[in-house]
């Protein structure tokens, strides 16, 4: 696989993840509306993959973000939708960080606005509990509540994944103080999760494009022999590589600084900008290479192209992240631009 063990993750672990999701996908074709498969969740839990980054003392597997990134990539490669990132990397991490107990419940997290509403909350309709965060005065509070304590209006993103509206009255919830820095981290982690997923999808699109161009014959030769087709695929590969470079650089900076690097916001914005624009070229060129069959439900291409487009727009549009980079650059000015990029 294209993404094999980027940053020191045991290839055997990656192979195991691949095997699990490949087997699952064999018997579970994609559904128009995605639900959380409780049986898959249980088997992942038995393998220690559900609470991958939790401490072992709290029932987790004690792994880190590099392993988690490989796990997310493996789900994407096989077109399996399951809220591992929302549960482990976002909700349970936040609970653990503010000293609340993490148990076996399936969780997601949301930040309420000043009307007590959070929109596009991933997987809320299929969670047991929700870590609800809200602003209180100059700081933030959070509560770990059962889904019965909030109102959930189900919705989906363009690929049918649950993206729900959560409404709650924070005055009725038992709040625990959340340091402001953790809210910033939550936003960066959420954004980076989608960047990791987009990169994995783009790499799979590249593989499918090479496979198709090699197998499909027209005018008496494989498509891969036409320079025009080679050029389309070379640009797919180049854009996917740039997106990966930017995403891995921000992941690596996050891990080595324990999410405290002063330029982390910039690096994540760079990753989201590069991955977002890469998706434009990759999706367009891949469809051009695949021809009409690539636009059908029957062909697997859409399992990777449509998610890439859906995910690049979550936790901030591509334009939003471009604007973040613009703002950082303008603030740095001509004299500070190069150190902004290299520090």
């Amino acid at each position: 696989m294209t993404t094999a063990a980027a940053i020191g993750v045991d290839p055997e672990v990656v192979d195991m993840m691949d095997a699990v999701f490949a087997e699952y996908r064999e018997t579970h074709p994609p559904a128009a509306r995605v639900e959380r498969d409780a049986e898959l969740w249980r088997s992942l839990d038995e393998l220690g993959l559900v609470r991958l980054t939790g401490t072992e003392s709290s029932g987790g597997s004690g792994a880190g973000w590099y392993e988690a990134a490989e796990l997310l990539a493996a789900t994407v490669r096989h077109g399996v939708r399951i809220p591992l990132a929302e549960h482990d990397l976002l909700a349970c991490w936040l609970l653990d960080s503010i000293g609340l107990r993490v148990d076996d419940a399936v969780r997601t997290v949301c930040v309420l606005d000043d009307r007590g509403v959070a929109t596009a909350v991933p997987w809320a309709a299929y969670a047991d509990r929700i870590v609800v965060v809200w602003q209180a005065g100059s700081g933030y509070q959070a509560a770990d509540v059962g889904v019965g304590a909030v109102a959930i209006t189900a919705g989906t993103n363009t690929i049918g994944e649950p993206r729900d509206t959560v409404t709650a009255d924070p005055t009725t919830l038992p709040g625990t103080a959340v340091p402001g820095a953790l809210i910033g981290q939550l936003q960066l982690k959420s954004a980076l999760v989608r960047s990791i997923q987009v990169c994995a999808a783009l790499d799979r699109v590249l593989e499918l494009s090479v496979e198709h161009a090699t197998a499909r014959t027209q005018f008496g030769r494989p498509l891969a022999r036409f320079q025009a087709v080679q050029n389309l695929i070379a640009d797919i590969a180049a854009e996917a590589a740039l997106a990966r470079a930017a995403t891995e650089a921000s992941l690596s900076a996050a891990v080595t600084s324990e999410w405290s690097a002063s330029n982390l916001e910039f690096l994540v914005a760079v990753a989201r900008s590069c991955a977002g624009h890469a998706a434009s070229v990759v999706v367009r060129n891949a469809h051009q290479v695949h021809g009409a069959i690539g636009t059908t439900r029957e062909h697997r291409l859409h399992e990777f192209t449509r998610p890439a487009l859906a995910w690049r727009s979550e936790f901030g549009s591509v334009q939003h992240w471009d604007e973040q980079v613009t703002g950082a650059a303008v603030e740095a000015g001509a004299a500070g631009l190069w150190s902004l990029i290299t520090n």
Partner: protein, 381 residues
């Protein structure tokens, strides 16, 4: 199906080079404050200033990877990478030594004889010997194996005849390395029978004629070789191995920071103009800054792979393809925002960038050739 990773793992520890970066940055800030140079675009091709080159040599930033025994500094390839990045980002005139330092040094270290290394390396490191490249010909651009410059065996050496083009700086430089055919073309083995020679640009039989660029600037030259004698001691590498020698070093040339930073001084000026609201806020600028940041990360990863002696020809092609395209996109972004202020420093940078832009995606392997290299790396050719 398993595709190769087109991005080497980011295993580079930046903390080891931060001090060096700071040193170069401080030096450049001093020079800028003293008015020694004005930041320009494409200064690694267009900015010939032997005094500035001498100042860099005095700091030990030329011939960095050359062993101390040959007058160099015994630094790592990554350290050289950091210095060149810093130089290109600031845009001082570095063209005089660029080819010698980037291309001739690694080639000499790999293929040079003891005499050649002793003769040239110390002078390159001191900033006293400048080189050009003698590859392209009037009828051989992308298809380099078709070169017709001929080397004929004569008493004590070789006689070269033919015409080389696009030799930047030949009118200032001391020598260039010429790729010539030393055995008749065998259509079944087009890459065989090619050899390289170190040729004195000021020797008899060498005629240097300017190729003036469309904006009137003179960087490129046509070099006509008429029965030029090259002694055996200046045969470069092995006779008949020219193709291998030329192609084995391409990753160094293709993945370097000059493939994405040629217009960085213009990007910085554009940022400044947006900050001072002389051009309107536009997130298209952020897209370009993000791409340059991603390219910095990708190019650093390739430098790490080269330092570890891993093959990196396909990743290097990716850096050059995306990098040179982005350099041009920066030129165009700025040009679209340039108005009637024809005499401003911004307008001058924009104008040079727009004129240099076509060259970005041509020199050192066109983007069309690079896409072919990538396609081959993906198993499609």
């Amino acid at each position: 199906m398993a595709l190769p990773r087109l991005l080497p793992p980011a295993a580079v520890d930046h903390s080891t080079t931060q001090t060096l970066r700071a040193e170069v940055r401080a030096f450049l800030a001093e020079q800028l404050a003293a008015g020694t140079f004005t930041p320009s675009v494409d200064a690694w091709l267009a900015g010939w200033d032997e005094d500035f080159t001498a100042a860099l040599a005095a700091r030990g930033w030329l011939g960095m990877t050359v062993p101390v025994a040959y007058g160099g500094h015994g630094r790592s390839f990554l350290e050289r990478f950091v210095v060149t990045e810093e130089l290109l980002a600031a845009g001082p005139p570095v063209a005089a030594h660029w080819i010698a330092d980037r291309q001739i040094v690694p080639s000499l270290l790999k293929y040079g004889t003891e005499l050649q290394k002793t003769e040239f390396l110390p002078r390159i490191a001191r900033g006293e010997c400048f080189f050009g490249i003698g590859m392209s010909e009037p009828d051989s651009g992308s298809d380099l194996a078709s070169v017709r410059t001929k080397g004929v065996r004569v008493d004590g050496g070789w006689s070269l005849s033919g015409t080389k083009v696009w030799t930047s700086g030949a009118h200032h430089a001391h020598a260039f390395i010429v790729l010539a055919r030393t055995a008749p073309l065998d259509p079944a083995h087009r890459h065989a029978g090619l050899s390289q020679f170190i040729v004195d640009l000021r020797g008899p039989g060498v005629d240097i004629r300017p190729i003036v660029s469309m904006n009137g600037a003179h960087h490129f030259n046509e070099v006509i070789l008429d029965d030029v004698f090259v002694p055996d001691t200046m045969v470069f590498g092995e006779i008949g191995e020219g193709w291998l020698q030329v192609t084995s070093e391409l990753s160094f040339e293709r993945s370097g920071p000059e493939r994405f930073l040629s217009t960085f001084p213009l990007l910085a000026t554009t940022v400044e103009r947006m900050a001072s609201q002389r051009i309107s806020r536009d997130s298209g600028l952020g897209r370009l800054v993000a791409r340059i940041a991603g390219l910095h990360q990708m190019s650093t990863a390739v430098a790490g792979a080269l330092e570890r002696h891993e093959p990196a020809d396909v990743p290097a092609a990716v850096v050059k393809l995306v990098g040179t395209t982005t350099e041009g996109d920066i030129a165009d972004f700025a040009d679209l925002r340039a108005g009637d202020d024809a005499n401003s420093a911004f307008a001058e940078l924009v104008s040079i960038a727009a004129d240099q832009r076509p060259g970005f995606t041509l020199r050192g392997g066109t983007n069309e050739v690079l896409r072919g290299v990538i396609a081959r790396g993906l198993g499609m050719r």
